[in-house]
């Protein structure tokens, strides 16, 4: 009896020790991540103290009470998302005026003009590969810009506090699709956000796309912009969103060996040369399946050869039959 129990308790103790160590290490790393890796984390904490979650508190100097208030959602910046975003190394006051350091914030700050992508990224050789100038001019031509007022800025889609580049990273294509489509749905599936820009009623996306076979599958595997944005060779992600009459509607634009997707969704991976020899479209083969676009070159040849043999066999046999019949006839 004892002999049996002893090793069990031993295992439990060992397990507990490992677990405690694990928790210690991971909690240490979390701390490390926010405090040490990001040089501005400490000064940012001054802002995050109130803006980092859904409530904040302050001392009401008039009444002398310590009051709790709800932070309205647009003003909340999630720490975790921020420290994973592309702008994670910034100090809040790199982009916002220093005057925010007083509370209550001065009223005139409501009128603060916000930077746009091009203000920092334009003309910078470091960002030349992203071609922000082209992105800007494409955006200017898009329905988002031509149909809406100046209020439609880059921030409508790219939240500067959370935006994380996804297409160029090594993420799975499915994740890129989900991330990018969420950007569109943020307004196109949310009536209150949509109506900030227009008085129109939001079109029902599912119903509008009813003509598309396997709708759910398409939505999970391709981005909205595949059909709704113009492909541009000099930028990775097209920003010229076209009017709906110009959206791609012919299946074969994607479902063919010369698939449109190779110039859009799969472009980066194709450029990286991850395609496997023998397949027209290696990326599609590796990560997704597109009828008509996944063709194995050798398999194609092999099947043609086999068809050739079958036909030749039949033809020879048939000719022989005819000849032999005549000879006997």
């Amino acid at each position: 009896m004892h002999k049996n129990l002893f090793p069990l308790s031993n295992v439990i103790t060992k397990g507990m020790t490992v677990m405690v160590f694990f928790l210690l290490i991971t909690s240490f790393q979390l701390d490390d991540k926010t405090k040490k890796t990001f040089k501005n984390a400490e000064s940012n904490e001054f802002c995050f103290k109130c803006h980092g979650q859904s409530k904040y508190s302050y001392n009401n100097t008039e009444s002398g009470h310590h009051v709790f208030k709800k932070m309205y959602s647009e003003a909340i910046v999630d720490r975790d998302l921020f420290y994973e975003s592309n702008h994670r190394q910034f100090k809040c006051t790199d982009c916002h005026p220093e005057d925010y350091d007083t509370f209550p914030h001065p009223g005139r700050l409501r009128m603060e003009t916000k930077y746009l992508c091009i203000d920092c990224h334009g003309g910078d050789p470091k960002y030349a590969k992203f071609n922000f100038e082209k992105i800007e001019s494409e955006f200017q031509e898009s329905v988002h810009s031509t149909k809406h007022s100046q209020d439609f800025t880059c921030w409508m889609c790219h939240n500067p506090h959370t935006y994380k580049i996804s297409t160029r990273s090594q993420e799975k294509i499915k994740d890129i699709v989900a991330y990018d489509n969420a950007i569109c749905l943020n307004c196109h599936a949310d009536i209150t956000k949509y109506q900030l820009l227009t008085d129109k009623v939001i079109p029902n996306i599912v119903r509008k796309h009813e003509w598309l076979p396997n709708q759910a599958l398409h939505f999970k595997n391709v981005r909205c912009i595949e059909c709704h944005a113009m492909v541009n060779d000099s930028i990775l992600v097209g920003h010229n969103i076209k009017p709906k009459s110009k959206a791609v509607k012919r299946c074969v634009e994607c479902h063919s060996t010369n698939s449109l997707l190779m110039a859009s969704l799969y472009k980066f991976k194709v450029q990286e040369g991850r395609s496997k020899a023998g397949f027209y479209n290696g990326v599609i083969m590796n990560e997704s399946y597109v009828i008509g676009a996944n063709r194995n070159y050798y398999l194609g040849i092999l099947s043609l050869l086999m068809f050739g043999f079958v036909f030749a066999g039949i033809a020879i046999h048939a000719t022989m039959r005819i000849i032999k019949r005549k000879n006997n006839g």
């Binding site: 010369n258 079958v310 036909f311």
Partner: protein
């Protein structure tokens, strides 16, 4: 002079006619999708997809007719492969088709009430009906509902393998169809086997 045997009961003829129509539709639309091109639309892609899906579903239903028929009627016995000596019988029939037939020899396995199919026929029919057709419709249904099978059961990567199988087996079935139709021209006359499939009666030499 030709003696007549009733070999193809009504249900076999009905099943077979439907089966041939569905398979032909599937092959044509399947090839159209596989080789789709923007500049050359054989069958418009979305139409091809719809026809292919519907024909596939009907083929499955029709297959159940075949299975039930072969299970409950004596037609099933023609599909029982005897493994012993199979290879020799296949070779014998093969040699007949490649040599003997041109010398006007008698067929080594004449059609009787007990033996509707010669060994090669039997083998290819069993392969087509009990192996290839089920594989093709099972993988086809899996492509229709990938979220059920692949994300829940096998993990998403199974989709490609599944499709590969679907396309390759589809190809083999097209080969089968060509060879099958050609060999059906070898009968008492060029068309007598086709007539049999309409009337139900086999004409022997």
């Amino acid at each position: 002079m030709a003696e007549k045997l009733y070999l193809y009961p009504k249900w076999v003829r009905l099943w077979h006619a439907l089966n041939a129509i569905f398979i032909l539709l599937l092959i044509i639309t399947g090839i159209s999708m596989q080789f789709s091109k923007p500049e050359f639309g054989f069958i418009r892609f979305d139409i091809a997809v719809s026809i292919h899906n519907i024909a596939g579903m009907l083929l499955t239903a029709n297959y159940l007719l075949f299975l039930t028929g072969n299970f409950f009627t004596s037609n099933g016995k023609y599909y029982k492969l005897t493994l012993k000596g199979l290879f020799q019988r296949l070779t014998k029939q093969f040699i007949y088709y490649t040599i003997g037939i041109f010398r006007h020899e008698k067929p080594p396995f004449p059609v009787t009430k007990e033996r509707k199919f010669n060994p090669l026929q039997q083998f290819t029919y069993v392969a087509a009906m009990y192996v290839l057709v089920p594989i093709v419709f099972i993988t086809g249904w899996a492509l229709l509902y990938p979220e059920v099978l692949f994300t829940k059961v096998l993990g998403a990567s199974g989709l490609k393998v599944n499709d590969f199988i679907h396309v390759i087996v589809g190809f083999f079935l097209s080969f089968f169809l060509f060879v099958h139709v050609y060999f059906c021209t070898i009968g008492a006359t060029f068309v007598s086997n086709f007539k049999s499939m309409i009337t139900g009666y086999h004409e022997s030499h």
